[in-house]
């Protein structure tokens, strides 16, 4: 179980005064203090953890965010930033003594510029909302996390979100040009702009993926790209994980970089097929979804090449989509994977390690052994091109033993990812979920170097406290008083 820091008694004692202060700043709009109305904010996508916050504030302008942060800073009140609350790592989990700043009311698209290929959007615009705003003109916003219908760009900034298409188009960090960032002191910083390279230090780069530790992004300038002429998917099914992995290597070695290259193991294929009826081969041990883009002739040529490569690995079946509808059906199963697993198990933990792709057969074998050892089922979905592995560990949250086992299983998987040369999280973030595993990947010196950067932005450690960085052993404290800071 994850330990949360002790609430600050002086803040809890001033609960009413804090509520008063927030209402004054917000002119009585968008301040939630009533227990029943606070309830929806007590958890996020990591729903096994719940904690009611001190209050929720729903600002509508950058200036309000600045005023609220300034107030919290002056009063020593902790702050938890929140987008749509879809974090699978508990990134938006409240603290008892913290004010949650929910960004959902800042949902305006401020500017779209096709000539210079950027869009300026507020933090509460959904990921898919950006693409929806520009797709009629042939453009799109590239990063496409599975939660893209709900998740907000502000949260994508926090977690440096990826998706199935980042092998070609990169992750959030590669697609952001500018951020309006409000610091804990209420200063509004303009980082980057509408141009590609920024002079001096790469503040955009350190802010993207910082999980709300450095400030709150209120307005984001993203690159928008012209969509390709078309895309098409194919399925390739194999009778073993090794041979499917070798096929992935052979595709990359041929010089073809598919726009997406997804791998599913047998349990994942079965769960998704039962859910989506996508025509997945149920006799396969492993399946690849491969997507290419370009004109119809280009798609035909690329898929022909890939088919030839796949044929060298004794596939059980190869199916090239003949239409946009067939491609959509192929993707429907994959994109619905989480829901599909949710149908066959009351609860699941979605892990998110990354591994060198060459270690996939070994890692899947070891995960299979752990599944037997813990007595819990697991389905594996893998962004094969970039090594990002999502084991879905199935358990029953009403059974404390089952939940405890699932967490231990997940931690073992992530230790394995680090052991084979990978990392704890490829796109979901550390949050509270993986916080205590950080020392598996980093030395104390390395963690301290990161903490000092955090301290440079947030000296009192009020922003998203108790996430990302392990608490000091034994103290359950996460404040600067517990941390040896920069000299």
């Amino acid at each position: 179980m994850i330990t949360l820091p002790k609430p600050k008694p002086d803040v809890l004692a001033r609960r009413d005064a804090v509520h008063e202060g927030l209402r004054a700043i917000m002119q009585d709009r968008g301040v939630i203090t009533d227990a029943t109305k606070l309830k929806p904010y007590e958890t996020d996508g990591l729903s096994a953890y719940r904690q009611m916050p001190l209050a929720v504030v729903l600002p509508e302008t950058t200036e309000q965010v600045a005023a609220v942060l300034r107030f919290c800073h002056q009063n020593g009140v902790r702050v938890v930033p929140r987008g749509a609350g879809t974090s699978l790592a508990g990134g938006a989990l409240p603290l008892e003594d913290a004010v949650v700043i929910g960004m959902m009311r800042m949902n305006q698209i401020v500017e779209v510029n096709y000539r210079d290929r950027y869009a300026v959007v507020q933090a509460g615009v959904t990921n898919l909302g950006i693409t929806k705003a520009v797709e009629a003109d042939g453009f799109f916003y590239a990063p496409d996390p599975s939660s893209q219908l709900a998740c907000m760009i502000g949260g994508n900034i926090g977690m440096n979100s990826g998706g199935a298409h980042c092998l070609k188009y990169g992750v959030t960090a590669n697609n952001v040009l500018g951020i309006k960032l409000v610091t804990i002191e209420g200063e509004i910083l303009e980082l980057g702009g509408t141009h590609l390279d920024t002079a001096g230090y790469d503040w955009l780069g350190i802010v993207v993926g910082s999980e709300g530790q450095l400030g709150i992004a209120t307005e984001i300038t993203v690159r928008i790209l012209r969509a390709p002429e078309g895309t098409r998917a194919m399925l390739a099914a194999f009778d073993g994980n090794e041979v499917a992995g070798a096929c992935v290597d052979a595709i990359i070695a041929s010089g073809i970089i598919p726009v997406a290259l997804e791998f599913m193991d047998r349990p994942a294929i079965h769960a998704c097929e039962a859910f989506a009826h996508a025509g997945y081969p149920l006799d396969a041990e492993a399946m690849l979804i491969i997507e290419v883009e370009g004109s119809v002739a280009e798609q035909d040529w690329l898929l022909g090449q890939i088919k030839e490569i796949c044929a060298r690995f004794n596939p059980i079946s190869l199916k090239v989509s003949q239409s946009a509808e067939e491609s959509a059906a192929i993707w429907k199963g994959r994109k619905g994977a989480f829901g599909a697993v949710g149908r066959i198990s009351p609860d699941y933990l979605c892990m998110d390690g990354t591994i060198p792709t060459s270690t996939l057969p070994l890692v899947l074998r070891r995960i299979g052994e752990m599944s037997v050892q813990y007595g819990l089922q697991v389905a594996n979905i893998f962004h094969a091109g970039d090594g990002n592995l999502h084991p879905l560990i199935m358990f029953d949250a009403n059974d404390p033993t089952s939940m405890h086992k699932a967490e231990a299983f997940g931690a073992d998987v992530l230790r394995l990812c680090v052991e084979v040369g990978g990392c704890l999280t490829g796109e979901h973030g550390v949050g509270v979920e993986k916080r205590d595993l950080m020392s598996v990947q980093f030395t104390e010196i390395e963690l301290e170097a990161q903490r000092r950067v955090k301290s440079a932005f947030d000296p009192e450690w009020l922003l998203n406290t108790a996430k990302v960085f392990p608490l000091q052993a034994g103290t359950a404290s996460a404040g600067p008083d517990a941390l040896p800071h920069a000299a």
């Binding site: 990169g170 141009h195 001096g200 780069g205 060198p356 090594g387 000092r452 950067v453």
Partner: protein, 392 residues
């Protein structure tokens, strides 16, 4: 010069410098010694003896090298695997050494024409090891393509010009080298019309991987008689043929188009990458200006009015300018960049100018305060390339 051949050697040199309060110049081969602000340092710490490729996994699109590895050696290794560096790092014609180290290229975050479509060096830095100004070894990222574990110190170090630590190893994402390259050329356009044509190309569905405008004097330096507006396609041969044709049709409204085949294209884009079109005279300064693409023509125009010459890459979003290294010229560049809401670098200049002006724009006070704290957290004694980027 201290030039260790292992990480412990860098830590020892830095610890000694901290103890002596003796600032260090951090460099690879010194090719960018004339870049940005001038420094007063007691000693030089070079990565030049810390070379070698430590990991190359072509099927995982990953290469790791010690930072003293030369760009030429790294590119040769990648060529064996049919791959290349995605950001196409430049080898500027005005460098002070015949080659550069990969550490220097990453530390300066210098990218070539492909940056407009495929990202900068900082985007492909997947992992690094560095010795900080505390003499401590810090790793960030790793050897995998997707990694959001902890704060991304790789991004902070890329482009930090050696002011936070000495990177000892970098891991980069790489991609297959395209089978063919094609270029569509328009002749004789004004900067404003050229910039519209480049926007059409980059806004097309044909995956343009280079988009530049060379005014007449720049075009003449690379063998063309009139101004050229150029767009590049890199891919499999049949795709290149098809897309060059499509792009040519889109561009027909701007004038007669010509197309270049692979060999000519590769040579032309290498020249654009390396700033060869700049008519640099001895003692001249070189500025680099990053703006939104539609503002590039105005930057070029402002420079021209003050006797500066240059050209545009990145669809108009990157302007190179060169001319007399005077305060007046510098002010013109700074003013043009500011009006375009962009950023500028005094990339290279004689010592007199480098001593008297900023090399990059000042941050707002709140950000400058954060920057000072961040830099001090890595280099509390202020001994790593002090003043290289900012005076204070």
């Amino acid at each position: 010069m201290i030039a260790p051949d292992d990480e412990a050697g860098f830590a020892a040199a830095i610890n000694a410098a901290v103890a002596d309060r003796a600032p260090l110049s951090i460099e690879g081969l010194g090719s960018k010694a004339g870049f940005l602000r001038e420094m007063q340092t007691a000693e030089t710490l070079s990565t030049r003896n810390h070379a070698g490729i430590s990991l190359y996994a072509p099927q995982e699109l990953i290469i790791s090298a010690r930072t003293g590895t030369t760009l030429a050696a790294l590119e040769a290794k990648l060529a064996e695997g049919g791959q290349h560096l995605i950001a196409e790092p430049p080898h500027y014609a005005f460098l002070d050494a015949a080659d550069q180290t990969i550490g220097g290229v990453v530390a300066a975050n210098l990218s070539g024409p492909r940056r407009v479509a495929w990202g900068a060096m900082r985007d492909h830095l997947m992992g690094m090891r560095a010795v900080t100004g505390r003499g401590e070894v810090v790793r960030s990222g790793g050897r995998v393509l997707k990694n959001v574990t902890g704060l991304d110190l790789c991004k902070l170090f890329a482009g930090s010009y050696g002011t936070l630590g000495v990177m000892t190893e970098v891991t980069l994402k790489v991609l297959p080298k395209p089978q063919a390259t094609g270029t569509v050329v328009l002749y004789g356009l004004t900067p404003e019309v050229a910039s519209r044509a480049l926007a059409v190309a980059l806004g097309s569905p044909f995956s343009v991987s280079g988009a530049a405008f060379l005014p007449q004097e720049a075009a003449m330096a690379v063998g063309y008689e009139r101004a050229i507006t150029i767009a590049r396609i890199e891919d499999f041969a049949d795709s290149v043929t098809y897309r060059v044709g499509q792009l040519g049709a889109l561009w027909a409204k701007f004038g007669a188009v010509e197309t270049l085949e692979t060999a000519q294209s590769v040579a032309l884009w290498r020249a654009v990458r390396d700033a060869e079109p700049l008519p640099i005279q001895p003692g001249d300064a070189v500025w680099r200006v990053s703006v939104r693409p539609s503002r590039g023509a105005a930057v070029l125009g402002a420079g021209h009015g003050a006797g500066l010459f240059g050209y545009l890459d990145w669809g108009g979003g990157l302007a190179f300018l060169t001319g007399p290294a005077t305060m007046a010229a510098h002010e013109v560049v700074v003013g043009a960049a500011r009006r375009a809401k962009g950023d500028w670098w005094l990339l290279r200049a004689p010592p007199e100018l480098r001593r008297s002006v900023d090399a990059v724009p000042h941050e707002a006070p709140a950000l400058a305060a954060i920057r000072q704290r961040v830099v001090a957290s890595f280099d509390p004694a202020g001994i790593l390339n002090p003043g290289r980027l900012f005076a204070a």
